[in-house]
Assembly symmetry: C2
Homo-oligomer: 363 residues x 2
């Protein structure tokens, strides 16, 4: 078990120390569990209160600054094998995955999100306020897409309708939002009532039509590496020749075909982060890269703001969100925050065209 | 030969027509030659005056809007085979390739370039003047790299010293420029005299040291697909942990391992354009993509401006540049212009980091 202790030491993390990123160990079996179960055991033992940490985000930032040469453990290999054998993001599984996360109950999300219900990275340019950062993000997307009144816009994975509302209100265009979360659709329909917006229950694979602009913010993480090419083919077929497509997604600096096992089990079943190589492969001869903007450091700020709001509001949530759930949720938000700060994860906002317009990106 | 004529027809190009992009055929054997020799024959027959065209750029734009399903011809396959069997951009070959192009004689290049001798795409944002566009490009690079006085900057493939001069003059930093063209080095040393600039004869593979910023503008096209990973490893090793690397290169929308045979034979021996997938592969776990800016449409403007200047000045060049050479050079500039307009080629300006700084790109 010395292996695990040395590992923490190497990362500059103390056991029962006084610095905010040090861990307080309540159960000495922790090290054996981490050794055996890897990142899954690390997360589950936190949920079960075997250990605590004042600043989980800093703990993860330090830990992840070391992991470049980390060997995959048994749990990771199992997840990898499952991903190889099955299409985890098949039409049937996609529905189940979405139910697990996004149908958790709108009250949970609304307890920590901004008024536009943006469950993706905000744009903290010249602001430290979450609500403002989310409006800036929405505005940045609309500007990059050169949105105008006459545009028909498709929003793949429309969430609670925030982008649709912002775009319709500020740019006067018509937005079609699709999602496969019943809870989100119910909410989004109500949220966008009276505006030039259509909200539909629809898997992207079954979508038809032609749009001037397509936007996909924080949904590509659920597509799965086996479907990247299919996804891009579908987008290209739904986009008019002179259209623009904006993809906002979390990305990685290397190619993998699996997610972190704890995240996969508790937060995003079937979720997966893409690499530049995978996006390049998936878009070859289909879509042309016009503009690519990495603002992953703003996801660090976004996640910290969400965690702060969640911590303040979680006690007023319904009984079903017990203490274990709250520990799980905070662990999720803060481990991701640390990962962005350590630059293991990135936030990419990418504009593609089909090459039939005269697009030069705004600087 | 009807195949070739139909091909032109399909692209909207008339034979002996009156539109500026129609071709005037002086030798009826043209079609058979194109059929047999592909793009190589097309270019060589132009050099030999078998045909003419008022607006070669538009001719190529139209032609290239069709070629998505074009089959590689025999000439292309030969080039491909050569590239597979040999490392065309080995240390020895690199020297030969560079001699063929960049040692042609400085007077040729200076006859059409701007005062900073920028032999790459200008940034025609709010200007239509080449000189201004090149200064804007140089300024854009310096801004994206966040250049400051204390920076040590490496310029891989420094050309005639234009970037080094601009950066040293405007930002006060020290620039080391490396090149393997004797003619360029001689000129660059003189051009940058008295400034905080070192110009060296050096292949990037042999370079040593650590730099705050690295810039490589219009040289990656000579690296060759077999060396992309090696190149990125070298850059990463030369870059400080908190440094930034700006790569400006021409790119393609799909992955290839060869160049256009005519361009390969007459203009850039061993030249080759990379794809997003190849750049993604080459940088995995080494460099993080921070910012990607496609302004290929400005290369169209750059090439037209060069061609106009070249046409005006070519008669005052020395005897060695005869009429065939001038036709070759105009064919090169205008076929590339058409290719950028048709968006077969792109101009990418990319910023990478090693993830150890807090970089968020400027918008």
């Amino acid at each position: 078990m010395q292996y695990v202790i040395n590992y923490f030491k190497k990362a500059g993390i103390g056991i029962n120390g006084t610095r905010s990123w040090d861990i307080q160990v309540h159960n000495p079996k922790l090290y054996a569990r981490i050794f055996k179960e890897g990142t899954l055991g690390l997360g589950e033992s936190y949920m079960e209160k075997w250990w605590d940490c004042e600043r989980l985000d800093l703990f993860f930032e330090k830990l992840l600054s070391l992991t470049a040469n980390e060997h995959p453990n048994w749990q990771m290999l199992m997840t990898k094998l499952r991903a190889k054998l099955f299409n985890v993001q098949s039409l049937n599984n996609a529905k189940k995955s979405v139910q697990k996360h996004y149908d958790l109950g709108n009250d949970l999300y609304l307890s920590f999100l901004d008024p536009y219900n943006q469950y993706t990275c905000g744009y903290f340019e010249n602001t430290s306020d979450l609500n403002e950062a989310q409006e800036k993000k929405l505005n940045l997307i609309c500007k990059k897409l050169q949105l105008k009144k006459e545009d028909s816009v498709l929003d793949i994975g429309c969430g609670w309708g925030g982008f649709a509302k912002y775009a319709a209100e500020h740019f006067g265009c018509h937005v079609t939002g699709i999602s496969i979360s019943d809870e989100q659709i119910k909410y989004a329909k109500d949220f966008t009532k009276g505006l030039s917006i259509t909200i539909e229950y629809m898997d992207y694979r079954n979508m038809t039509g032609k749009f001037d602009k397509i936007v996909c913010v924080g949904m590509f993480e659920h597509v799965g590496y086996k479907n990247y090419r299919l996804y891009m083919k579908k987008v290209a077929s739904l986009l008019k020749d002179d259209g623009l497509f904006l993809l906002q997604t979390i990305g990685r600096n290397n190619t993998v075909t699996m997610a972190n096992p704890w995240i996969d089990k508790y937060i995003f079943p079937g979720g997966m982060l893409s690499s530049l190589k995978q996006i390049g492969e998936a878009t070859e001869n289909l879509l042309m890269l016009e503009d690519f903007h990495n603002f992953g450091l703003y996801y660090y700020q976004t996640l910290l703001a969400w965690e702060e709001r969640f911590r303040k509001n979680c006690h007023s949530l319904s009984q079903e969100y017990d203490e274990t759930f709250c520990r799980m949720w905070r662990y999720y938000l803060l481990s991701c925050a640390g990962s962005f700060k350590a630059r293991h994860m990135h936030l990419w906002q990418i504009v593609f065209s089909k090459g039939k317009n005269m697009y030069v990106s705004i600087r």
